[in-house]
């Protein structure tokens, strides 16, 4: 279709108009309780989504068909690229990724429209929220149309594209941004609800029930997105490094921390009609940090290996959007937050209660977020103040965030045991002392099996085990075993309410993640040797023999492949093939690692080049329990989704 991209462009412009309609009609409709205006608004939201889908599809078609008359395709694609990477190339650049962002924004808008259509209770809140969502959509569509148009054509048709950075030709790129954006953009729904609450002067239990499902979905997606990014970086940018506290990584972590606090805070609003102003603030900050994250990746403000594009002018435009989108709600918050909880009849909880525990959890998460934000921006602040340049890297973040997370992990298993309003220490002690015993015993076993553990390793593993005992304790409670009624225990477990199951899965995920971090941070190993063909080297209790180094031709690269055979202590053998690839079009080189993934960790073999005369360099890394890092994240995602699915849809069930 020669005019495909023009259609895409036109569809986007129409969508712009529709989101304006959506925002205005819903706002007016909610204010004047006009059912007709509200209907117009949510219909506009659905139409806007359909149009953005068309627009996105046109851009994707242009990439798939290698239509190099489109400037974006010419600069970021190539005819020889495999189709998956042509598609992922759509969002592997600034303009296309903004269109993906808008696609997901309007998707959530359409889903919210669907809910608005169905519900009878809380319609005005929902209408305001969808209106705010429309405003965000229109801001981003406007940003694309006026500053970052992906549909621009070239006047002369090049023979072929400039290809894509070969490091980005990886399944990780295909899935990481969409998942991450689902999370970032999903938080916009929570944000919209928060602004709606400020407009209506009400953030009560009904509001919280409406909002929490959306936030759970966004949180789960964000967890998955960050985990995918970390996994991708593990293979792409480091040799076993999975987190570097790079500004872009921090930019994704901060909304996640706030979203975690938000889910827990919403629960308190739902259940006890307290913490209204905290929760609304968290919801605004969550999406605010998502926007700031987008901003940092594109503006060139901070140096990063991950930076998408370094365009300070675009950065200023995005900053202006952020100033309006976050500044106005925060000013509204300053003026009206005091009214949010005025109708509550809830009594103040005792100091020893679940509310306080959740409050403490929120506080710690917020402190961690502020710490990460300060660390990320501090070099900039210092430079603004006196021109000096300093670096704030992993040592700072590990030293400051570590203890905070440790504190949270310490309290995590205790909180679900505490009763609302007033908890009794003697009651929970019955459950805590077995948890402590089991943790101590298991930790002692670990200490006996593994030598040379330092205090940090012991603490981290201990905390992971401790959280696991907490999950077991709660499941025991569900089964009624604490009250010693073994009959029917299994039935009770099978009938576990989904939110409780989800919570325990997510908390289990945290524990698994913690142990994964301990394993790979304290017990990893690296051996580097120069080998001739036929030589061998040892890593762990296995022997690795270099059997061949041979040329390989790929679809858009030439490579040299080294084959290493591992013979384990039990005689099992496995083959590792690691390549150094040269991409003639992009004129760059990448090294492909060969990874053996197992439940107990990874073995990671990398070919470092060389010649027959001087020998070939082979690196072998042992990464114990690294799979638990992503396994733990996966459990968290599943826990979040299960909780979302089982979440009450009406206030009465909360």
């Amino acid at each position: 279709m020669p005019h495909g991209t023009e259609i895409g462009h036109f569809a986007l412009a129409l969508a712009f108009g529709l989101t304006i309609t959506q925002a205005l009609a819903l706002f007016a409709g909610a204010r004047s309780s006009s059912a007709g205006m509200i209907r117009l608004g949510w219909q506009a939201a659905i139409m806007a989504f359909i149009l953005v889908v068309i627009s996105f599809a046109m851009l994707t078609l242009a990439f798939l068909r290698s239509d190099f008359s489109v400037a974006l395709v010419a600069s970021h694609s190539h005819s020889l690229k495999p189709w998956l990477y042509k598609v992922s190339g759509v969002w592997g650049n600034h303009e296309g990724s903004l269109l993906l962002w808008v696609l997901i924004l309007t998707l959530f808008g359409a889903l919210m429209a669907g809910q608005l259509r169905r519900i009878s209770d809380g319609r005005s809140t929902m209408a305001y929220a969808l209106s705010i969502q429309g405003m965000i959509s229109l801001a981003f569509i406007g940003l694309i149309l006026f500053t970052s148009n992906p549909f621009l054509r070239l006047t002369s048709l090049p023979d072929d594209g400039n290809g894509l950075n070969p490091i980005l030709q990886d399944p990780g790129l295909a899935f990481h941004p969409p998942m991450l954006y689902l999370g970032y953009v999903g938080l916009s729904v929570g944000f919209a609800f928060a602004v709606a609450a400020l407009i209506e002067g009400r953030a009560d239990a009904r509001w919280a029930v409406l909002a929490r499902r959306w936030v759970l979905l966004a949180w789960a997606a964000l967890t998955a997105g960050i985990a995918l990014g970390s996994w991708w970086a593990y293979y792409e940018l480091g040799w076993g490094g999975w987190w570097f506290w790079d500004p872009v990584e921090n930019a994704s972590l901060m909304p996640w921390l706030v979203a975690t606090a938000l889910i827990h805070s919403l629960r308190v609003v739902e259940k006890r009609n307290l913490f209204h102003s905290w929760t609304v603030l968290l919801a605004i900050l969550g999406f605010g940090l998502s926007l700031i994250g987008t901003f940092i990746v594109r503006s060139g403000l901070l140096t990063s290996v991950h930076a998408f594009t370094n365009d300070p002018t675009r950065g200023i435009v995005i900053l202006v959007i952020i100033m309006i989108a976050v500044g106005i709600p925060l000013m509204l918050y300053a003026m009206r937050a005091g009214t949010l909880g005025r109708d509550t009849m809830a009594e103040a909880p005792a100091l020893f209660s679940r509310e306080t525990a959740l409050q403490a959890n929120n506080l710690l998460l917020v402190v961690t977020t502020v710490t990460v934000l300060t660390g990320t921006l501090y070099p900039l602040v210092i430079e603004a103040v006196n021109g000096a340049r300093i670096s704030v890297g992993p040592p700072f973040f590990e030293a400051s965030v570590g203890p905070l997370l440790g504190l949270m992990l310490f309290f995590l298993p205790v909180a679900p045991l505490l009763a609302w309003k007033q908890a009794s220490f003697s009651k929970i002690w019955r459950q805590i002392w077995p948890m402590l015993m089991i943790t101590a015993v298991l930790l002692a076993i670990v200490l006996m099996l593994i030598s040379g553990m330092n205090a940090f390793a012991i603490a981290t593993i201990g905390l992971g085990i401790w959280v696991m005992t907490g999950v077991a304790a709660d499941l025991f409670a569900v089964m009624g075993l604490w009250r010693q009624h073994p009959t029917g225990a299994w039935r009770r477990l099978r009938g576990i309410p989904l939110p409780r199951l989800g919570m325990n899965l997510a908390h289990l995920g945290v524990a698994v993640f913690t142990i994964g971090v301990a394993g790979v941070s304290f017990f990893d190993d690296e051996v580097i040797k120069r080998l001739q063909i036929g030589d061998h080297m040892t890593s762990g209790d296995a022997q690795f023999t270099l059997t061949s180094v041979a040329p390989v031709i790929g679809p858009n690269y030439n490579a040299t492949a080294a084959t290493v055979i591992k013979t384990a202590a039990n005689g099992e053998s496995s083959e590792f093939i690691s390549e150094i690839r040269t991409f003639p079009v992009a004129r760059s080189q990448t090294t492909e690692a060969a990874i053996q993934t197992g439940f107990l960790g990874d073995t990671y073999v990398v070919f470092g080049g060389g010649t027959p005369e001087e020998g070939f360099v082979i690196h072998i890394y042992e990464k114990p329990f690294i799979t638990w890092i992503w396994g733990g994240a996966g459990l968290m995602v599943i826990g979040g989704i299960i909780t979302m699915l089982g979440h009450p849809t009406r206030r009465q069930e909360a």
Binding site: D246, V367, I390, S391, G393, P394, A593, V617
Partner: protein
């Protein structure tokens, strides 16, 4: 009902994933050329570990936010050999870091030194924690008194 089925299906999925991960998955996935060469390494493992740790604390000044240990650039390679030479000559970690700091400033250190300029940074967690606790405590009692006021009315 459907929700329960979905959740049970997800549980099965987790089990399948765990089982399959415990097998062997081979993949060829991209990484940049690895930085350390065997010849660079020191023979004494403790010294070599020190050298790697130090290199991980230093910023590669000709790269985009990478450590000297990670980077392939000429600058990083030379810094690494300087580190190893100085370790072999008996210099302490502080000596080596100061040597580089004297020439390149605090920017080359990924762990900012604790001084008047960076005090706020290092103390951020404590400051914010105390501030947060303060705000929570300050905004708490009013709730109880607001209820009391209403009850009195």
């Amino acid at each position: 009902m459907i929700c329960r089925l979905i959740s049970q299906a997800l549980m099965v999925l987790i089990m399948v994933m765990m089982v399959s991960l415990s097998g062997s998955l081979f993949s060829a996935l991209p990484t940049p050329a690895h930085a350390i060469l065997p010849e660079e390494q020191l023979t004494n493992p403790a010294d070599e570990a020190r050298a790697r740790a130090l290199a991980n604390e230093l910023r590669c000044l000709t790269c985009q936010n990478q450590t000297v240990d990670d980077s392939n650039s000429d600058f990083a390679i030379t810094i690494r050999s300087i580190i190893r030479e100085q370790i072999t000559n008996g210099k302490s970690d502080d000596d080596i870091l100061n040597y580089l700091r004297q020439r390149y400033g605090d920017y080359i250190l990924f762990s900012p030194p604790f001084n008047r300029m960076t005090m706020v940074l290092w103390l951020t967690p404590i400051i914010v924690l105390i501030l947060g606790l303060g705000i929570i405590i300050w905004t708490r009692p009013r709730l109880a008194s607001a209820i009391d006021d209403r009850k009195i009315k």
